[in-house]
């Protein structure tokens, strides 16, 4: 039985430079394994150890995701092997295209009992990929998960919802979105780093898997994000009591303190 972890190799958008004409420059950013997915990999390691399952990482993206540094970074975190779909066509893939690609990878792998992934994409923060992938596979999906135990294809899960901590029981195969604080992702130790390069890393293209990417709309233009323009009124704070009084009357005048 295989436990699969879908991980992302991407840059943090905070490090991108957006020019006033909407050009987004990621050249000064360095891609990393998303912190959210590192947590999912750690959970996968615990489960693989407990069940004896194979732990396989999958990822989809442009050139960068198939580089040695990317695959080794993933393997160093405890995956037994990685399976990567790398293709220029995936450079700007959104949630739907990425999910379609990962589905093909999972079909290709076979014998998958559980898929784990972090709860957010590093670069879009949308938190929907796991559900789209579940829909394509026809498998149940649960998110905000803190704890998973497996017994064959029987899974016991604990997850947080607004009403509290919910205990669930499911039959696999299943997709699970793991919360960012479910477990603490271990820092890869020296032995893990040095042995990463010896573990298998399989790279395929979209053509190899027979994937045709779905359309995700046509981008007409991109602009820098501008929030509503703010007044930026500075209140003199030499005398805190006076500053407070001034702020209160300004807020009252603006109607912000109406009950």
């Amino acid at each position: 039985m295989r436990i699969v972890v879908a991980y992302q190799w991407a840059c943090d958008p905070q490090e991108a430079l957006v020019s006033s004409d909407g050009k987004i420059d990621f050249s000064r950013a360095k891609p990393t394994i998303s912190d959210y997915d590192a947590v999912a990999i750690e959970m996968g390691c615990h489960l693989a150890e407990a069940t004896g399952a194979e732990l396989i990482g999958i990822s989809a993206g442009g050139e960068a995701v198939a580089t040695a540094i990317a695959t080794k970074a993933a393997l160093a975190r405890g995956l037994h092997e990685v399976f990567v779909v790398s293709d220029p066509g995936l450079d700007s893939a959104g949630t739907l295209a990425t999910a379609v690609t990962l589905k093909a990878a999972i079909d290709n792998l076979g014998d998958v009992g559980l898929l784990l992934t972090g709860d957010s994409s590093l670069d879009s923060g949308s938190k929907t990929l796991v559900a789209v992938l579940a829909g394509l596979l026809g498998w149940p999906c649960v998110t905000d998960v803190m704890k998973v135990t497996m017994d064959g294809d029987s899974l016991t899960i604990e997850r947080t919802i607004p009403e509290g901590i919910q205990g669930l029981h499911l039959h696999g195969p299943v997709l699970v979105g793991v919360t960012s604080d479910a477990v603490k992702a271990k820092v890869p130790g020296m032995k893990d780093v040095l042995s990463a390069g010896k573990k298998p890393a399989r790279v395929v293209s979209l053509l190899d898997l027979g994937v045709r990417l779905p359309g995700e709309g046509e981008i007409l233009s991109v602009e820098k994000m501008a929030g509503p323009s703010r007044q930026q009124i500075r209140i003199n704070t030499e005398d805190p009591a006076q500053a407070a009084a001034e702020l209160v009357s300004a807020l009252r005048a603006a109607g912000a303190l109406d009950a």
């Binding site: 540094i69 970074a73 160093a76 820092v187 130790g189 032995k191 040095l194 390069g197």
Partner: protein, 378 residues
């Protein structure tokens, strides 16, 4: 070599992640309290950072020298004390056992040193023998199947918590350095006492007590290498130590440099951030260039060592340059911080205090200059 391998880059990012999470939060406190971060030892061991120079068959992680330097730099970037804690244990204790120890020595000591169960230290320096190490006066008198040690050592890094000590003592009448032998001494040997750690200007968390030997009896089998080979062992050990300390210096400089950049970008005077001023831009440029130059000297020495090519001069150059560079960069970092940099609220004053020792220990800058100069003018 002009670039790090993938593994070395991953080692850097791992040790950086670890250092920022576990090492940096303690740095100011251990400096203020002059206390070694003993709680970090098991965490370092878990990551494999205490067995870097120990072969795998003895429980070590055995990495190449360049990787080792990356580790020391990254630890020191967050805390110079933690950096030297690992460097002294590795370069000054585990290394000589690996290179000069018998199989019995290796089996007995290396697994515990790799796992952090025991830490290691190096006892060469004496009150009357610093740069002039050959003038050491501690004696080791042969008595049947034992040696009896008498004398004292000073400024022994890690002495306060180490269990395994490489101690250099005069065991024969041969004059000068030829009579010196190296010994492995366990902490709890009767007659062996460890004093209070010195209160220092910098690396205040580093334990540096004196060691006193009063008729300390050790088995003759604890002789490391041959009788009379001690000075050679000490010098060979310090060659490797030079590169490690140079890496520590680079880490200290890097940490101070990053703090200076942050400050320059946030601090506003005369209506704009300091970063907009040419004077500051030039200081940052000089700092960046000298740090990169130092790092390359460290990698060069480490790379030569990895390829089995004599690296003594390269190591001396790396230590000479990086020690003085770290002091200069830390000083400029304080200057950029202005008055704020002079207070404990900002980390650069600690970097300034920590940097100075890298010009002194494991071979002063003056000794490095002698070594380098003489190599050209034989």
């Amino acid at each position: 070599m002009f670039g790090l391998t993938d593994e070395q880059e991953l080692i850097r990012s791992s040790v950086r992640e670890f250092s920022e999470a576990e090492v940096a939060p303690l740095a100011a406190e251990i400096d203020r309290d002059h206390r070694p971060p003993l709680e970090t030892i098991p965490k370092l061991a878990e990551l494999g950072l205490l067995g870097i120079l120990i072969p795998e068959q003895y429980g070590g992680t055995e990495m190449d020298s360049v990787s080792y330097c990356v580790v020391i730099e990254e630890l020191s970037r967050c805390c110079a004390t933690t950096g030297v804690m690992v460097e002294a244990h590795s370069s000054l204790c585990t290394w000589p056992i690996v290179h000069f120890g018998t199989e019995e020595h290796k089996q007995r000591y290396l697994p515990d040193l790799a796992s952090g169960v025991k830490m290691g230290a190096f006892g060469l320096t004496e009150p009357g023998a610093g740069s002039d190490a050959g003038a050491l006066a501690t004696t080791a008198r042969r008595d049947g199947d034992e040696f009896v040690l008498n004398g004292q050592k000073v400024f022994i890094t890690g002495g306060g918590y180490s269990e395994v000590f490489i101690v250099f003592a005069r065991s024969t009448e041969a004059p000068g350095t030829k009579g010196i032998s190296a010994f492995i001494v366990d902490r709890d040997t009767p007659g062996f006492t460890i004093g209070e750690g010195e209160r220092k200007l910098g690396i205040r968390g580093s334990s540096t007590p004196p060691l006193m030997f009063s008729d300390v009896r050790i088995p003759a089998t604890n002789l490391l290498g041959r009788e009379g080979q001690g000075f050679e062992i000490a010098m060979a050990t310090l060659d490797g130590g030079r590169t490690g300390i140079a890496a520590q210096a680079v880490g200290i400089a890097q940490g101070a440099f990053e703090a200076a950049i942050d400050y320059a970008q946030q601090r506003v005077q005369f209506g704009k951030p300091l970063a907009a001023l040419q004077a500051i831009q030039w200081m940052i440029a000089d700092m960046a260039t000298s740090i990169d130059a130092g790092r390359l000297l460290v990698y060069q020495a480490a790379d030569l060592e990895d390829r089995g090519i004599p690296h003594g001069i390269a190591a001396a150059q790396a230590k000479l340059f990086c020690g003085e560079m770290a002091s200069a960069v830390a000083g400029k970092a304080i200057q950029i911080h202005g008055g704020n940099g002079y207070t404990e609220a900002y980390p650069v004053e600690r970097a300034y205090r920590d940097a100075k020792i890298t010009e002194i220990y494991e071979g002063t800058s003056e000794i490095q200059r002698l070594v380098i100069g003489r190599s050209f003018l034989r």
